[in-house]
Symmetry: C2
Subunit: 389 residues, 2 copies
């Protein structure tokens, strides 16, 4: 259902000949038809952030966006002033079609770093997509399809609150972590919500979703998550319900990224419980989820708890106090390490399900955190040794 | 030439049926025949350190060791009190043969985490190896061979100072980083050096060698580096020369680990120059060297500088101040990124040599640091998906 699920939004996805793959749609538009044009954004913290991130961060700073232009086929990152001019030109093309200011248009790009875009193709694509803008479900799916790169599936979400709706689309498969991901995400709602509340809801939602997935520990230059509100439902939501729904939607989209992680054969949930505080639990979960050795073992259906604890053991005592001799590790529900020593024999662990659950209890206090990751497979190497991105 | 290159040392390597590979020698001895028995050690900082690490750290604390017993085929890590008793029993078997105290014998183990050793095989192996101890070059190579696991080559070193010698052996191939490595290393010298000077030389040498290699970002539970001095040359070395030689020997052994990194097809040298201080340079070099995406690109002979700068961009400004618009990246001598933008076309970079040099200049000041790593290949995944370690 994607971004057109709420009232007040139209979208399009077209082939603009930006991507080297001639058959792939590669330009998407999302337009907020109002009456509101409230918006919020979260962006990569990478210091080599891309030109469209620089442009869009400034554009959304006043809490207003009317439209988003997204392209795959080129990241427009590390392209200097010329790259920035391309993002501005893209926004201007769209803004003149809509008869709004350029800074009411955000721009998102994804693809190879270090090359300029074929800007005439982008601008022509904007005009082409504008001519087919539609508020139906197919248009939302077309937009979601046009932002895919190594993604193997369209990733969208739809959710309903009390009298209002939330929809969203995301792309992302590799270069995922540790803050955000190589991902572009647009979430829409027809609720009546101001920019301040939108930003609070989005920041909170991102923190416990997109910031807690890790495909390969690699932070992107282009990450962008935008939340647009049209107010077309006429419903002012209960703030707690709205925040919870935005978090839920972010969580579902993040989970879809993990489910489509480059080359992955397992989705891995690492949960650390019994920690002194949430930051400690998170540091431990991140350390475990980023272990190449563990991720290879899981690819080989090996419940290798030695690689769990050797990763856990790299977290300093000052960050996460615990006694190694009290730690337990369950893999898919089997207590395979008990008190820092071997527990139930590893042959009892069923590693055939797509989802693998690693549950570590530090036995210190009661705080917990979860990180989702993927296994590390031959296919991941193949994709990233052969794909220039 | 290995550990028997200096005077005053004998060694042995035998098949003690510890490893699941029936044909592989798996138990090594190194004996210091004196007149000195000075020793120093550096150990893993992993909080789940193995039983032999606990034993050996205490044994070397007084600056004295007469012998080291090393086994492959089992790490004796996460094995609780029973594992510690195995390390002690191993030391006792050797100490009774030598007629010394048990705490004059260090113990090192490598292999699968979370299983006890077949201790009778270890003890019988100690007696068997003791009976064939020899101070010739072959005995040193036998010892180096017996500690190999996924290593594909024996790793030894020999170096001469002014009237004294230094020799060494190391094993290590995967689970390498960020502090030390899944490595066991014994370095010997016949120089007349006290324990304090030995420890200073070893700590300094390790810091700029074994602590600056990264195969897969995974810290081991068993890392041990020992330096033994027999004093048999009768020569008291110049301290500066001795420190420099120990650093040189550590560097050579570390380089051999990278040259034999699991599945590697390229050895990658990441050097960051122009930094405000060495720690800043090191943080940047580590960030680049740990990028799975970059390591996959190198496996595919792709000089992907976008993945260099996107990794560099994750280092916070507070850790390494620099302006992304001034950064240059050379790959194998070609300035492929100039001032944060594309430089010379990537097609000019020759990626066929085994060694790949990535040189990043931050253009802030004049400090620098180097990290060595390997590329990430199908073979790495194969080894670690299928090998229980």
């Amino acid at each position: 259902m994607s971004v057109t699920f709420p009232q007040g939004f139209s979208a399009a996805g077209v082939n603009a000949a930006i991507s080297s793959n001639a058959d792939k749609p590669d330009l998407a538009l999302v337009v907020n038809n109002g009456p509101l044009s409230a918006a919020a954004g979260v962006f990569t913290s990478n210091r080599f952030c891309a030109a469209p991130v620089v442009w869009s961060r400034a554009a959304v700073a006043d809490g207003t966006l009317v439209s988003v232009v997204l392209n795959s086929g080129g990241a427009n990152a590390c392209t200097g002033e010329a790259g920035y001019e391309q993002s501005r030109a893209t926004a201007r093309t769209m803004s003149s079609l809509l008869d709004v200011r350029p800074d009411e248009v955000a721009v998102c790009s994804t693809g190879l770093i270090g090359e300029l875009l074929p800007i005439e193709h982008v601008q022509e694509g904007v005009r082409k997509a504008f001519s087919v803008l539609d508020d139906g479900p197919e248009a939302g799916l077309d937009a979601a399809r046009a932002i895919m790169t190594t993604d193997t599936a369209i990733k969208t979400v739809a959710s309903e609150g009390s009298g209002y709706r939330i929809g969203g689309m995301v792309k992302g498969s590799g270069m995922i972590a540790p803050q955000l991901a190589t991902m572009l995400c647009v979430i829409t709602t027809d609720a009546v919500v101001g920019a301040g509340q939108l930003q609070a809801a989005l920041s909170g939602g991102v923190d416990t979703s997109f910031n807690r997935i890790d495909v390969d520990g690699c932070m992107s230059t282009n990450d962008t998550v935008l939340l647009l509100a049209s107010g077309a439902s006429g419903v002012e939501p209960d703030p707690d319900e709205f925040n919870a729904l935005i978090s839920h939607v972010c969580g579902q989209l993040a989970r879809k990224i993990i489910g489509d992680g480059e080359g992955a054969s397992h989705d891995v949930r690492v949960t650390v419980t019994g920690a002194s505080d949430e930051d400690a639990a998170l540091a431990c979960a991140r350390a475990i989820a980023s272990s190449n050795l563990l991720k290879c073992a899981i690819a080989g259906n090996d419940p290798n708890w030695g690689r769990v604890v050797s990763s856990l053991g790299t977290v300093p005592q000052s960050v996460a106090p615990y006694d190694p001799n009290r730690v337990t590790v369950d893999i898919n529900g089997v207590r395979i390490c008990d008190g820092g020593k071997p527990g139930v024999d590893r042959s009892n662990v069923d590693m055939t399900p797509r989802e693998v659950h690693i549950d570590v209890d530090l036995h210190v206090a009661h705080e917990s955190a979860t990180i989702w990751t993927d296994d590390l497979t031959h296919e991941y190497v193949h994709i990233n040794a052969d794909y220039e991105s």
